[in-house]
């Protein structure tokens, strides 16, 4: 396959504990193409979060490279890349304001300045997640861990990313809301043919529901 048909390619990706320390992540080869639904499993501490952070280029990588549409990502191209390949933290901090303020914040960034913040779109997304429209006015300090995850998911979807890197996005949700969140992600995936996601999950049933391809992370290696 030609490189340009695989939007996200990680080659020889590696992360060390520190400059001369042990490898926490090593020899990772990963290709994520259009409509890919990939699940990653593995024990705690295996390096799943580290892999996602490295793919989002949130930390300096110690070996290898990440390419996007055939070009190595670095320097001034990083913010634009992160806008397309969006990493969701497992336990989002969000801040101390309201849900609406958190959702609006990215629209003030230089990268998203051309986008228009539309409150009704946010309200529709929350409705699909079974939340009332008053949810937007909620104080962040009153949100449960699961509600924070929903807020982070909606915040990401409002920016129309091409790839989502999901780090156990439903770990704090109840069973029925988990299904709603899964359905929302599937709908997002189906809206454009080139979209794809990487989903870290521990639950076998969820993995069967959301993925076509399974990868396993063990001791910093992906297989």
């Amino acid at each position: 396959m030609d490189d340009s048909t695989i939007p996200l390619v990680a080659h020889d990706l590696g992360r060390r504990k520190n400059a001369a320390g042990d490898w926490l992540l090593r020899d990772v080869e990963l290709e994520l193409g259009a409509n890919d639904r990939v699940a990653i499993q593995g024990p705690s501490g295996a390096g799943k979060t580290l892999l996602l952070r490295s793919l989002a280029l949130l930390d300096p990588i110690d070996s290898g490279s990440v390419s996007w549409n055939g070009a190595k990502v670095g320097g001034e191209g990083v913010p634009r890349y992160r806008g397309s390949v969006n990493y969701l933290h497992q336990t989002p901090a969000l801040g101390e304001t309201t849900v609406a303020a958190v959702l609006r914040r990215p629209f003030q960034l230089a990268l998203h300045r051309d986008r228009e913040w539309r409150e009704e779109r946010a309200r529709d997304l929350f409705a699909e997640l079974g939340r009332e429209s008053s949810f937007l006015n909620k104080d962040l300090r009153d949100l449960s861990g699961g509600e924070r995850q929903l807020t982070a998911l909606v915040r990401a979807l409002l920016l129309d990313p091409q790839i989502l890197l999901l780090d156990e996005p439903t770990s704090a949700l109840d069973a029925s809301t988990t299904l709603l969140a899964e359905a929302l992600v599937q709908r997002w995936l189906g809206e454009r043919p080139q979209r794809a996601y990487l989903w870290v999950c521990h639950d076998d049933d969820q993995r069967r529901r959301v993925s076509d391809r399974n990868l396993t992370m063990a001791a910093g290696r992906l297989s």
Partner: protein, 273 residues
């Protein structure tokens, strides 16, 4: 001008005996402060005597290189002390602090010596040393508070900063809140003291001039100038140290290098933990 009353050493000793009152209170209330009070009192005497000796010598020799050497030493010490007072550390923090301290205070003192007070010769120790000293003392505060706050904001809000980066924020956009807070906190003491100057307290320099018999209107003019010099020096130094530190903690790939930040308490007193 009123005659200026010189103090005999006996009078200084009488002042010192007043400290015994504090010591007695400490013993009576079992505050356990008497030892520290005694050390502090002795340090005050010794440090100021030494400074007096050095100043007498520098004043007597009156050469530019000697004055510059002393000013350099003062700036260096101020830069080091500013870091020692802040709790977060990262590689390059000493360099950042010393450079910010040096550049801001020398620039402002330069304007004062060459333009505002227009001293002849420019290195005249009677002006150069106290002017720089006052600016350094306040800039030190601003730099250490700014450094401390920047580290604290970035550590406690690391997730928020990284979430913004993950959404496509440039590093400056993700760090701006922390940078702004740090500069604000660094500037707060001088802004506060400008707000209440003359109402709550008379500044030390003005008090000194009044005691020396200077006309109050003259003393006020000097004090206003000094306040503005101090404020601009503190502002420059704080902004410089915060921006230099931001440049160390974020790289050109818009990554937050949080692993560079460490806690000085665990560095300096690791054995205790």
């Amino acid at each position: 001008m009123e005659p200026y009353i010189e103090l005999s050493y006996l009078k200084v000793a009488i002042a010192a005996s007043l400290l015994l009152l504090n010591g007695a209170i400490s013993i009576f209330l079992r505050l356990g402060l008497e030892r520290r009070l005694m050390i502090a009192g002795i340090r005050t005497v010794i440090q100021l005597l030494l400074v007096g000796l050095v100043l007498e010598w520098v004043f007597a020799v009156d050469r530019w290189f000697l004055v510059v050497a002393l000013l350099s030493l003062m700036s260096l010490v101020a830069g080091v002390v500013a870091v020692r007072r802040s709790e977060r550390r990262f590689p390059g923090i000493w360099f950042n602090s010393i450079v910010s301290m040096w550049v801001s205070s020398w620039l402002i003192t330069g304007v004062a010596l060459f333009v505002i007070v227009d001293v002849e010769p420019w290195y005249s120790p009677q002006y150069a040393i106290p002017l720089l000293g006052m600016i350094l003392g306040n800039t030190l505060n601003g730099i250490s508070l700014g450094l401390d706050r920047l580290g604290e904001e970035l550590v406690s809000r690391r997730s928020e900063v990284e979430e913004l980066l993950a959404l496509g924020a440039r590093s400056w956009e993700a760090a701006r809140r922390a940078v702004r807070q740090a500069v604000r906190v660094g500037m707060t003491p001088i802004v506060n003291s400008m707000m209440v100057v003359g109402i709550v307290s008379l500044p030390g320099m003005m008090t000194g001039q009044l005691l020396a018999g200077v006309d109050p209107a003259e003393a006020v003019k000097y004090q206003v100038v000094i306040m503005f010099l101090i404020a601009s020096g503190t502002g420059l130094g704080t902004v410089a140290v915060v921006l230099l530190s931001y440049r160390r903690l974020f790289n050109s790939d818009h990554q937050f290098l949080y692993r560079l930040l460490s806690d000085s308490r665990s560095v300096d007193s690791g054995a205790r933990q």
